[in-house]
């Protein structure tokens, strides 16, 4: 367990300390938004530095734009496992940030707290029967249950194989467990394979990387920037016929409100 971060000091050494030791709840910080966001207590006047990219602005401004970064659904451990697993699916590399820095864990948390998380617009009348593969892999549990059970299964597998929690094992060890999940070798709960969980989780990660930032992921539109996607533009009439690729500064739906 690392020390609780104090409410002072934004100097670089302090940043490094937080980055490499993790925060109050321990574990390896993967350069994401969570470790820094979890102060282990109430923040006072001064901000805990963020390890996520903030190209401009003071830390206070940065915090002000991030009131969205608090879990609506997960507990701390679930949030951390989510961030660690998501980062393996979409890792940081030379192209740019991975799922952790993009805020994907908060995106997933917010989705599970949404009507989607409780299957609000799906057909829920019974009987639930296991049909042919071509008839769909529908569960009687709700999406938020599938995900939390899957996260639990990642944790249990890590503990039984490596005697450590999922966030503390090596990237290679994480990948091996996720691969077993993907192949369905690990059962999430009786009757539900890891494959069902993995596919849903992978889809959530991609959504968190590339959905409009209003949902909590794709932080600072960095997901879009990596693939030169311009986001919310009103017209491409002037570039649609061009032979050359036209890169433009992306815009989010928030841009409808700031002018």
């Amino acid at each position: 367990m690392a020390d609780k971060p104090s409410q002072q000091s934004l100097d670089p050494s302090r940043r490094r300390f937080l980055k490499y030791t993790g925060t109050a709840i321990g574990g390896v910080v993967v350069g994401g938004v969570i470790g820094s966001a979890m102060s282990g207590g109430f923040k006072k006047n001064t901000a805990v530095p963020s390890t996520s990219p903030t190209p401009s602005g003071t830390p206070q401004e940065h915090l002000a734009s991030d009131y969205n970064q608090a879990p609506m659904f997960f507990n701390q451990q679930q949030l951390q496992i989510t961030e660690a697993a998501a980062e393996r699916i979409f890792p940081k590399d030379d192209n740019g940030p991975g799922a952790a820095e993009l805020g994907v864990a908060f995106y997933i948390d917010h989705q599970l707290a949404s009507p989607w998380g409780v299957n609000a617009r799906t057909y829920r009348m019974g009987p639930f029967v296991k049909g042919e593969v071509t008839q769909g892999d529908y569960l009687s549990i709700e999406r938020h249950e599938l995900i939390t059970m899957g996260l639990n299964s990642l944790e249990e597998t890590a503990k039984s194989k490596h005697s450590k929690g999922f966030v503390d094992i090596t990237p290679e060890e994480k990948d091996a467990i996720l691969t077993s999940m993907e192949k369905g070798e690990i059962s999430v709960v009786n009757g539900i394979t890891g494959k069902t969980f993995f596919n849903q989780f992978r889809t959530l990660v991609m959504e968190g990387v590339y959905s409009d930032p209003l949902y909590g992921g794709n932080k600072n539109m960095a997901g879009w920037k990596m693939r030169k996607y311009p986001g919310n533009q009103m017209s491409y009439i002037t570039i649609i016929e061009k032979d050359q690729f036209v890169a433009m500064e992306p815009r989010s739906l928030h841009d409808h409100f700031v002018h």
């Binding site: 799906t122 959905s211 879009w224 570039i239």
Partner: protein
């Protein structure tokens, strides 16, 4: 129990393309029309935040709430059907405008061959060419008879297209109302490749306006901005034609049209020979209303048209054991497969930009435009390229052999984000005796009615078709000279999970013979002269084209029939 409303001449069930067109045509002529829509009212002002891929494309904001009703599905009648609990293979619309709001706008006409598929197949290849169990039949109308109605629909919507008529598709009585969409670099690649191979490419007829347009009703709409958000999205500009920006204002202006939203029809009242009206539930209060009418128009999506007829015991239900009966018969879909993807290491394209119907197509392998003598299938596919806007959640293509997650996946999906394009066949779907829709014995909707049950699979016909057109698609892609090509010519069993196409057809099919069809060429029910069942439910099979152009033409044809019926009564001929 139900509150009885004052009788009206015409009541329409469902306010999508079909309901809106018929409402406009009849109310213009002075007929009082009530339109019932189970969903909410909406319009362009509701699409201010429409460039939201998650909300609309991934979470299906404009689609039917499946918690209230859905369909059940099985591949064969040997297994029990399972409800489609969440969206996959196709997306059902809901709300004012129905699927006209969330379509792409690809507005093609079916081929002359389609309407006489049985006669023309027998004529060219002999009767033995049609395999045992395949139930293709003529539609009871020819292309030439339907042509003026195609023209009306295209003028209503302002369809954009080539000025020259392609020799391999039906003749046109008038040019497209607006010029074709722009020809982007990837369309030019496709055009050059297909021309070099001796094919006949043409610009996809588009309901995304290429230029500002004023239609014959005096309604002016702005040009498409190529923003890349059509399919699954509403158009904030009104540039993509839907019924709310075209036909409905005409109906509303007439003073003869009343729209009732939140009104879900649960029964067509009838004595087995004629209908006397409908019963609907106000979905807000749960209160039931009876709406008596002289004429009942069924204008909801394929599944609800079939379901309401079956639950209301109107028309003879189809029996797959005997092949007799008509309601639920000839359910068809769209046979998609054989896509060739080209990955370009040396080229990037502005793929984020696009429009739902920005594309090119060749008709050379569609319908009977090629010799089937030595082929083990009938009909074919439109082979096309389109630039609909590569939205980032949905589009992460990687070359074969790349893992679906992790470091390599990320690098490759980013590398090709603007450098992968596809040539895709859209295959026809022909009917079989054992493919149909009936009522599910187990599962019910929120109003206590049984869900429609689909029994459908891909057949050897479909596998052979895909194998053939996959070869053509790959040949075209090769000519376009990408660095690597990914393609597959295999077609598995029909699976309701992956999205394929919202082109479900049949179940209340049209024809010239009451023993083998449910409606005549005016979409009037053989078994109840004052009921018209209009939409893709009338298709006797599905072509290798998008259905809306033909649906629009049938809506105008039906409107004319209803108008005649209101004057003369009896079966319209």
């Amino acid at each position: 129990m139900a509150t009885k409303m004052p009788k009206v001449p015409v009541v329409i069930v469902g306010m999508g393309w079909v309901g809106g067109i018929i409402a406009a045509e009849l109310s213009k002529q002075g007929t009082k029309v009530v339109g019932l829509e189970r969903g909410k009212p909406r319009g362009t002002a509701d699409y201010y935040m429409v460039h939201d891929e998650l909300r609309y494309a991934s979470r299906y904001d404009l689609m039917q709430d499946l918690s209230k009703e859905t369909v059940t599905f099985r591949n064969t009648d040997k297994v029990a059907a399972v409800p489609m609990r969440e969206y996959g293979s196709f997306l059902l619309g809901e709300g004012l405008g129905g699927a006209s709001v969330h379509w792409n706008g690809q507005t093609l006409r079916f081929l002359p061959y389609d309407f006489e598929i049985h006669s023309k197949t027998v004529e060219r290849y002999g009767k033995q060419k049609i395999p045992e169990g395949m139930t293709i039949q003529d539609w009871g109308i020819t292309y030439d008879t339907l042509e003026p109605y195609f023209d009306k629909f295209e003028k209503l919507a302002g369809i954009s297209g080539d000025s020259e008529t392609n020799p391999l598709i039906g003749k046109r009585s008038a040019p497209f109302p607006t010029k074709p969409m722009v020809k982007t670099p990837i369309l030019k690649l496709f055009e050059d490749a297909t021309k070099k191979l001796g094919y006949h490419p043409y610009m996809m007829p588009s309901a995304n306006l290429s230029e500002q347009y004023t239609n014959p009703d005096g309604i002016t709409r702005a040009a498409c901005q190529y923003c890349g958000y059509c399919e699954r999205f509403g158009c904030e500009y009104g540039a993509k034609a839907d019924v709310i920006v075209t036909a409905l204002p005409v109906a509303q202006k007439s003073g003869n049209f009343e729209l009732r939203s939140y009104s879900n029809v649960i029964q067509v009242l009838n004595d087995g020979k004629k209908a006397s009206g409908v019963v609907y539930v106000n979905t807000v209060t749960g209160e039931q209303f009876e709406q008596p009418a002289d004429v009942v128009i069924m204008a909801s999506y394929v599944f609800n048209n079939i379901k309401l007829l079956l639950t209301s015991k109107l028309g003879k239900p189809y029996d797959p054991a005997t092949g007799k009966g008509v309601i639920g018969k000839n359910y068809c879909y769209q046979t998609n497969g054989g896509t060739a993807s080209g990955f370009f290491d040396d080229k990037t394209f502005n793929l984020y930009a696009g429009a739902g119907s920005l594309g090119m197509e060749i008709p050379d392998f569609n319908g009977d435009n090629f010799d089937h003598s030595n082929l083990n299938f009938l009909h074919g596919a439109g082979i096309r390229i389109s630039q609909t806007g590569q939205r980032p959640i949905a589009t992460n293509s990687v070359p074969k052999g790349t893992p679906s997650w992790g470091k390599d996946f990320k690098a490759k999906s980013l590398k090709y984000a603007n450098s992968v394009i596809s040539v895709s066949p859209q295959g026809s779907s022909l009917p079989w005796r054992h493919h149909y829709v009936d009522l599910d014995p187990t599962y019910k909707d929120a109003y206590g009615l049984p869900l429609p049950r689909i029994t459908f699979d891909f057949e050897e016909q479909d596998r052979q078709l895909i194998k053939f057109v996959a070869g053509k698609a790959a040949e075209i892609m090769k000519e376009m000279n990408p660095t690597t090509i990914g393609s597959s010519d295999q077609l598995g069993p029909y699976n309701i999970v992956p999205y394929q196409s919202t082109h479900n057809t049949g179940g209340v099919i049209m024809g010239a013979d009451p023993s083998t069809s449910a409606v005549n060429s005016y979409l009037q029910m053989w078994d109840a002269e004052n009921v018209f069942v209009v939409g893709a439910s009338a298709f006797a099979h599905n072509s290798g084209y998008n259905p809306t152009g033909t649906v629009g033409a049938l809506a105008y044809r039906a409107a004319e029939g209803i108008s005649k019926y209101l004057k003369s009564g009896g079966m319209i001929v």
